[in-house]
Amino acid sequence: MKALELKGITKQFPRVLANDHINLSIEKGEIFSIVGENGAGKSTLMKIVYGLYTPTSGEIYVFGKKVNMKSPHDAIKLKIGMVHQEFMLIPRFTVTENIVLGDEPRKGIVFDFKRAVKEIREISEKFGLKVDPLEKVANLPVGIQQRVEILKILRRGAEILIFDEPTAVLTPEETEDLFKTLRALKKDGKTILFISHKLKEVMEISDRIAVLRRGKLQGVVKKEETNERELARMMVGREVVLEIPRVKVEKGPVVLSVRDLAAKDHRGILKLKGVSFDVHAGEIVAIAGVEGNGQMELVNSLIGFTRPVKGKIVLNGEEMKLITPYNVRRKGMAYIPEDRKRRGLVLPFKIRENIIMGQHTLYPFSKGGILNDKVINEFATKQVEEFDIRPRDIYINAGNLSGGNQQKVILAREMAMKHNFLLASQPTRGLDIGAMEFVYKHLIEEKKKGIAILLISLELSEVLGLADRILVMYEGEIVGETVPEETNEEELGMMMLGIKRKERLVQ
């Protein structure tokens, strides 16, 4: 039985054709993935299915019946539910209140909280999704918050569940939990639409996979009959170099030297417990580790967001006494932040403004404190071209760009800054493979230029592919130092979990 059928769905936006005659049919009880690069039209398609957009043309059939959805309200009535990328929860409300909001059980005209709690306990048990109905959502980790979202739509009787990039915000363990849930739901006869650009996950969870590129359906494949490489090719439209080419560069003098550095997090807990390492010119040193093992505190100390408890940082032979972002940047540090939306870009600023931020006080962008628009526009236009930022419009707000293009704006800015040390903190987080490849290419180019790079990454494949030297961090300490030629993912994984230690090869 077909749960959902799309026939010739087209969505035309004022300037863009987001979906171009898409035909899909999804069986009941299967996990159907839709992959594509950022901006390929996945989300638009799902918003059409969920009634947020009406298609310009085309027909939708739900369980064999032709439907005409005007709003998500109609979709819910048709038993279609959606777990959004950004959760729609009220942090101060309890789990129960969040789940029943909009459809509360009543006693007369009064909200019957007790019955609501009982109801939540029941469905939570029925689907094996453990939550504490009385806990406030604000106190829950992201993975559990997502569970609350899932319960919310299950309670409304959803049969078709849409997940819009659900793993983007999850840790690997939480992702594993989510997949368990998805499999259980499938067993229960629910139909699942899984949107992602992470091919590894898609290969793990789906039954069938549809690939979108530039609004067009490239094809639907069975999981057994395909592999990551083929999917990547379909997504990007050309062969993607997933393997990173090794480039040998003569190691130069020490650029950054960190000695016995310790720092606390914002709650005052000692998270970084005395690390020491050097980064040479033309070398990529990668810091591997599970998130939350002191990487954030290391980055914050280096960029001047937190004052270290002890230790010293020597950049270009000069000990940094007062570390502020302004000072380290003037001393030659470029920084690709881990959270581009909060730390990298001012979202309502235009590309032309974001692309000079940090350099805006320097000649020729400004003189005597007055901005030179002509020079800024020329520079922005040049960078947009060189870094292939789409669309080629320097007046577009950074917040309206796709993730990959936002990262390109940051790259375009940081690379243009005078620097000989690059702090790349999770530079490919949340990016699709096309954009990932772009970042790798630029990191390698930087290395060729003789720039010292400290790469902080959670992705082992990235660490092994890019690094000249790998430092493994566990609970705020460096527990191992190795080179990619002498190790593998397994050994790194063991070190990351603190099971194994490895002595330093070289000082």
């Binding site: 967001f305 972002p325 940090g358 007055i370 901005l371 789409r390």
Partner: protein, 391 residues
């Protein structure tokens, strides 16, 4: 169309999509407020037509009897509203919700009064005397504002709290101590409040036969300079970057090397300095002394002015003119048997509708834009898609 294009280019940094919304939304709010106001009047059995006729007839906004007088009075009070409005707008652009214009206005007023009558200054030529006064006024108001900024930057105390407290401190410091103590006029002269400022400290009149003085010219220059500061300087660039990110606790400007803490204090300094100008205007152009009981409120009205003006210097200027006009015409509505506080109701309604501007924007969008494009949902999503699909 050409003129519109130039207008758009100058004031909206070019190529803004739906830039005209920024103008249309406040105009719609004002219009709706006037209609609702009319309903209020009509429901009390009086004539709205007559009320508006008297209100606008005496507002100085439209020609009518005694236009010259009304026009002069309107500009005179507008210049003060614009000053406090700009002060709020500058802080708002930097993500700071400053309620402190009232206190800064008072600080500016008392400073202007002191340097206006104090001996060593009183014998200077007008130009030098006024320059000295204005420098001191802006310095004093700036410092008053900067205190709140510094407290936020260093101690993390929210500016709403500190600016409100500083307002009260300023009020009592001035009214209950300075004006009745050290700055009290000589008792024999029979003057209460501070002594009158010397002739050289009075703002020159620019329209014969009225009270209109150069304050309106000064504030036009200041409004332009505010725009220039915000949109043409690196300082303004940083203020705006901070404004967009501060509220959401984002760090992008800081990570890029902007000294956010210093900028907060500096922004509040500039904001305070501009608010204080209004205080100087009222002392040097209207009252000529700091009276024992000061009728304030200009600082709070500035918030309304800035909100109506969308926190943009040009908008603040126009909104200040409007509010100045409503206040000038206020007494005339009594001829239609309506209390003179009625224009304040209109003002309140405008602000209320401005507060609903997202709704108004949404309705206008639906009415004007989406009909054309035949799409259903909000604008930002579409732009997001258009940003990415071109890949």
């Amino acid at each position: 169309m050409m003129a519109m294009d130039i207008f758009r280019r100058i004031f909206f940094g070019r190529k803004e999509e739906y830039w005209w919304m920024k103008i249309l939304v406040p105009i719609t709010s004002i219009f709706v407020a006037l209609i609702v106001g009319a309903i209020f009047i009509w429901s009390t059995g009086r004539s709205p037509v007559l009320a508006y006729k008297y209100l606008f007839g005496a507002s100085g906004l439209v020609p009518g009897p005694y236009f010259k007088q009304h026009f002069a009075e309107m500009l005179l009070s507008s210049s003060m509203f614009i000053a406090t409005g700009l002060a709020f707008a500058i802080a708002a652009k930097g993500g700071l919700f400053s309620i402190g214009a009232e206190g800064q206005f008072l600080v500016g007023a008392i400073t202007a009064a002191y340097f206006g009558y104090a001996k060593p200054f009183a014998s200077m030529p007008t130009l030098i005397h006024l320059t000295v006064i204005f420098v001191m006024v802006m310095l004093a108001g700036g410092i008053w504002g900067a205190i709140a900024g510094w407290l936020k930057a260093k101690m993390g105390i929210h500016e709403v709290i500190t600016t409100i407290m500083l307002n009260w401190i300023a009020l009592y410091l001035i009214e209950d101590w300075l004006v009745t103590g050290p700055m009290k006029a000589n008792v024999e002269t029979g003057v209460s409040g501070t002594p009158y400022v010397s002739e050289t400290a009075k703002l020159p009149i620019i329209l014969k036969g009225t009270r209109l003085n150069i304050s309106i010219l000064i504030i036009i220059v200041v409004a332009y300079l505010t725009w220039f500061l915000l949109y043409r300087t690196t300082f303004g660039f940083e203020i705006r970057a901070m404004g967009y990110t501060l509220i959401y606790n984002m760090d992008a400007p800081r990570a890029a090397g902007v000294s956010v803490d210093a900028r907060i204090t500096q922004t509040m300094f500039v904001s305070g300095a501009v608010a204080a100008l209004g205080g100087a205007f009222i002392i040097l152009g209207v009252l000529f002394q700091f009276p024992p009981v000061f009728e304030g409120g200009y600082g709070f009205d500035g918030i309304a002015v800035s909100l109506i003006g969308q926190n943009e210097p040009l908008g603040v200027f126009l909104a200040g003119i409007l509010i100045g006009g409503l206040r000038t015409g206020a007494t005339a509505v009594q001829l239609a048997h309506i209390p003179k506080t009625f224009p304040s109701i209109i003002e309140g309604l405008i602000v209320a509708f401005i507060a609903l501007q997202e709704l108004i924007r949404y309705l206008l969008m639906k009415l004007l834009v989406h009909k054309k494009n035949n799409t259903v949902s909000g604008g930002s999503d579409e732009k997001a898609v258009s940003g990415g699909v071109a890949k």
